[in-house]
């Protein structure tokens, strides 16, 4: 939701490590971060707050994979996965690299690096020699009748 960035960030994990000098906090083992409708799960999560400014932190999450979820204003959910997630809260910019995957209402993009500007809902996916960018587009919901019935049940 566009209001997520004003929400407070809650982070739970089994252990934490604060490094005042670099203004970074590192959380490890079963880290769960929630901010409004945003939810990040990772094995290790580092929160960097440049000059201790509230609101424009940068979050880097590592996992096999680390996952990112958020519900958009229109009720649709986006779901991302990658070995490394970098989420800039301030300018709502998400960068996922190595085995990145982003999925929204059935459509799914995979690639080596996916960058996603959440507010403008703009996505760029890059590939590298090993993994090419793959997009799966669901047939549009309005055309097939069976689809409609299913979406109503899902709510």
């Amino acid at each position: 939701l566009s209001s997520d960035t004003e929400q407070p960030i809650y982070i739970e994990s089994e252990s934490q490590h604060l490094d005042m000098a670099t203004n970074t906090v590192t959380f490890t083992q079963n880290v769960v971060l929630t901010q409004g409708s945003i939810k990040i799960l990772a094995d290790k999560l580092v929160v960097i707050r440049p000059q201790g400014q509230e609101g424009d932190e940068t979050i880097e999450a590592y996992g096999k994979p680390a996952t990112f979820e958020q519900t958009m204003d229109d009720g649709k959910e986006i779901h991302g996965e990658a070995n490394k997630l970098r989420y800039e809260v301030g300018n709502e910019f998400l960068k996922m690299s190595t085995n990145a995957m982003l999925e929204q209402s059935g459509n799914q993009v995979e690639g080596n690096v996916i960058t996603y500007e959440i507010d403008k809902q703009q996505l760029v996916a890059e590939s590298d020699s090993t993994k090419r960018v793959t997009t799966i587009l669901q047939p549009s919901t309005k055309k097939s009748s069976s689809e409609d019935s299913s979406t109503t049940d899902a709510q």
Binding site: E126, S127, V133, T135, I136, K143, S144
Partner: protein, 749 residues
């Protein structure tokens, strides 16, 4: 996947995906896009570039870049675009497809049909979903790539998916890209549909018809109805119009074929000459419908005109129709039958109508079958000397079959009851017979038939294989009471007599027949024993490889209908066939009269077949006396003066490349005169075939001692291959020849 080289090499897996293997409801299948880079603005636009591959079900497209506009779901692709939906593969530089209604447009495209031959280019290819293709300024050919033998280029080519045809608007037919002829519109069969043997323009020359040109036009009126209209221009005769309408209905299928030659320049005294044929056959549950009606304008029609209605050597044209209703163990039929005679002043009997009713009661008792065939016939004709009659016939029969693997026996008893009501003015019996017709006749003839056969078998090794041989001796006693039949108009007492009865040719199969005549106007008395045997050889796979049969009849009482001298024995009948290793086939039959120690008839045919090469030689002999015995009281000097002795060769083999030769030659050995010959050279390339053929046949002559005259034809025929079924040039005997390749081999399959 496809590397992007400059020249778009065709996708290696461009193989046909038949409809059965296609993904069901492909429009609802998820779309998968693989690319080097993707940029997406949700619900607005997504741009993919770098070896883009889009697949949806069995449909696939590759391009350098592709963009998908989301709300309208329109995909556009540029750069080495290759589109393949399992039916058609198109390479082009620009593609636009609407994922909603599947409309797809490609520019500057090269296309290739995958399931049927056909390729070409087009300024613009438009395809709406799976039902309709349209090409603008396109070309179409079935020749393989780089083969410029022929192509159609047209301002527009349209093809309905379900239809078997493509419609070309303003097509130009081009050979080596040089336009040969132009047509405002042409319909071309592009799939193996019902259309076989569709021959494109064929040109031929014959000294009787001069230059001859046929251009068939096909009109697909309705899936159940089509018409082929073929104007045939003949320089010496004028223009003849042949039309063939084929239909398909729940009552069966059939065709209406007509030939119409308004004024025959070679016979101006005759007015329009035409020929017509209607055939129909259909099975609908218990019902069965059958019809075959032919008629021509004059009796020398087949002598003067090459026709598909009948053949030059036909003596009569059949005009018959019947409807039958059948149950599991009974059937009933109503039939009418008439003929158009093709010889002067011969009137023929007509069946107006005939009703059959056959009732079978198999296993009334475990050992007894009962059958009651019944028939009511009305015979009519126009010749005052010939009587008209109604005939009622009933033949209740009791049959006791007894079968074992090693033995079979049948005892059969029947009472043939026949009633005639004959109307006649003054039928003249033969000179010596005292028969006189009577108005109403009732005839009852009991018959008894006892048949039994033994089956002996042995296995043996020969030529390195396991074989088995059977010997099947059989013997039959037949008794038919000798009854006075002189008051019936029958072929024995009256010259040319018999409503629908004529003597059957006796051959091996005739030995065991109870009736030597085709029908029951004369039932030959019999008190005879028929004996014979068959031996069969089977190979290791239990396939029959050779059989030989012979038989003879011993007459206890001399059949009274034989001519003057009486015989105790009939002639020997032999019949044999062999299939040697599936490449050599032989068949022969002979009938030898031991009383006169001479052969009545004999024939043999041998065929050698190896891959494309085949050769068939045949010889046929019929003795003069035998011909006279089957055509009693008829002067056969107009037909033959010393019986029949005819030899023939038919062969065909590939020469080299696409060239193949076919030839046949027939000679009458009694007069040492050629009867017919036919030679042809055919060159078959990948997408066209051209055939040159020459044939010659003996013209009919009233006096067989005059020098024989022949008519000959030279035919050049050209046809495009791959259009519709293989519409290659095939040998048609309607080039005037009557004899041709024959396939009588029972052991060949």
């Amino acid at each position: 996947n496809a590397e992007s080289s400059d020249e778009p090499c065709p996708d290696s897996e461009a193989r046909c995906i038949p409809a059965s293997e296609q993904t069901q409801d492909v429009n609802n299948a998820p779309i998968r896009v693989v690319a080097d880079r993707a940029e997406a603005q949700t619900n607005e636009k997504a741009i993919y570039n770098g070896n883009v591959e889009v697949t949806q079900g069995h449909r696939k497209m590759t391009a350098d870049t592709a963009t998908l506009r989301d709300p309208e779901r329109i995909v556009t692709a540029q750069g080495d675009v290759v589109f393949n939906d399992g039916q058609m593969m198109v390479t082009s530089d620009y593609l636009q497809a609407n994922l909603e209604n599947e409309d797809t447009t490609l520019n500057n495209a090269q296309y290739k049909m995958l399931c049927t031959p056909g390729r070409g280019e087009a300024k613009r290819v438009f395809k709406n979903g799976t039902t309709f293709y349209e090409l603008e300024d396109g070309t179409y050919t079935t020749c393989p790539d780089e083969d410029k033998s022929w192509r159609f280029s047209a301002s527009k080519i349209e093809k309905e998916d379900s239809s078997l045809f493509a419609d070309l608007y303003h097509p130009r037919f081009e050979v080596m890209n040089v336009p040969i002829f132009y047509l405002p519109y042409l319909r071309v069969p592009v799939e193996d549909g019902r259309l076989t043997g569709f021959l494109y323009p064929s040109v031929s020359w014959s000294d009787r018809d001069g230059i001859e040109m046929e251009t068939p036009f096909y009109w697909n009126i309705h899936p159940q109805l089509d018409a082929t209209i073929t104007p045939k221009y003949m320089s010496e005769r004028g223009v003849q119009l042949n039309t063939n309408i084929r239909y398909l209905t729940p009552l069966g299928s059939g065709s209406l074929y007509s030939e119409y030659l308004p004024d025959d320049q070679r016979n101006p005294e005759l007015d329009a000459r035409w020929g017509f044929n209607w055939t129909h056959s259909g099975v609908q549950g218990h019902w069965r419908y059958q019809a075959d009606y032919s008629k021509v304008s004059d009796i020398s029609y087949f002598q003067d005109i090459d026709s598909d209605v009948g053949k030059r050597e036909d003596n009569t044209l059949l005009q018959t129709g019947e409807i039958s209703y059948r149950g599991l163990d009974w059937n009933s039929t109503v039939r009418v039958r008439d003929f158009q005679p093709l010889t002067e002043n011969t009137s023929v009997y007509r069946l107006m109508p005939q009703v059959d009713f056959n009732y079978y009661a198999p296993q009334v008792m475990p050992w007894l079958d009962v059958s009651v065939p019944a028939q009511f016939s009305v015979f009519a004709n126009d010749d005052p000397d010939k009587p008209e009659a109604t005939r009622t016939h009933l033949a209740p029969t009791l049959t006791m079959p007894f079968t074992r693997p090693w033995f079979n026996a049948t005892a059969e008893a029947s009472m043939l009851y026949t009633h005639y009501d004959q109307r006649f003015d003054d039928a003249t019996p033969d000179a010596e017979s005292t028969a006189t017709l009577s108005k109403s006749v009732e005839r009852k003839i009991p018959t008894v038939r006892l048949h039994s056969g033994l089956v002996l078998e042995r296995n043996f090794w020969a030529m390195g294989g396991h074989f088995s041989q059977t010997i099947e001796p059989q013997v039959q006693y037949l008794y038919i009471k000798d009854v006075e039949q002189g008051d019936i108009y029958n072929p024995v007492n009256f010259s040319g007599g018999g409503y629908d009865t004529a003597r059957l040719q006796t051959d091996y199969y005739g030995l065991f027949r109870s009736n030597q005549f085709s029908s029951i106007d004369y039932i030959n008395p019999a008190n005879q024993l028929t004996y014979g045997a068959t031996t069969r050889f089977y190979d290791g796979g239990y396939k029959e490889r050779l059989n030989l049969s012979f038989g003879q009849i011993y007459y206890f009482d001399q059949p009274s209908n034989q001519d003057a001298d009486t015989f105790d024995y009939s002639s020997w009948a032999l019949e044999g066939e062999a299939n040697i290793d599936d490449y050599l086939f032989l068949r022969a039959s002979m009938q030898y009269d031991s009383n006169l120690s001479e052969m009545q008839f004999g024939n043999a045919i041998a065929e050698y077949r190896h891959q494309q090469f085949y050769a068939q030689t045949s010889y046929r002999y019929v003795a003069q006396e035998y011909i006279e015995s089957t055509l009693p009281n008829r002067d056969i000097s107009a037909l033959t003066d010393d019986g029949l002795s005819q030899a023939g060769v038919v062969t065909g083999f590939p020469l080299w490349g696409g060239l193949s030769f076919k030839g046949q030659y027939w000679r009458d050995l009694t007069q040492d005169v050629m009867l017919e010959n036919q030679f042809s050279l055919t060159y078959r390339s990948d997408c066209w075939v051209v055939g040159l053929s020459y044939n010659e046949y003996l013209l009919s002559r009233s006096d067989i001692n005059t020098d024989p005259e022949y008519d000959n034809n030279v035919t050049l025929s050209f046809s495009l291959l791959g259009l519709g079924a293989d519409s290659g040039f095939n040998f048609s005997t309607d080039s005037g020849n009557a004899l041709g390749y024959r396939n009588p081999f029972a052991l060949k399959n």
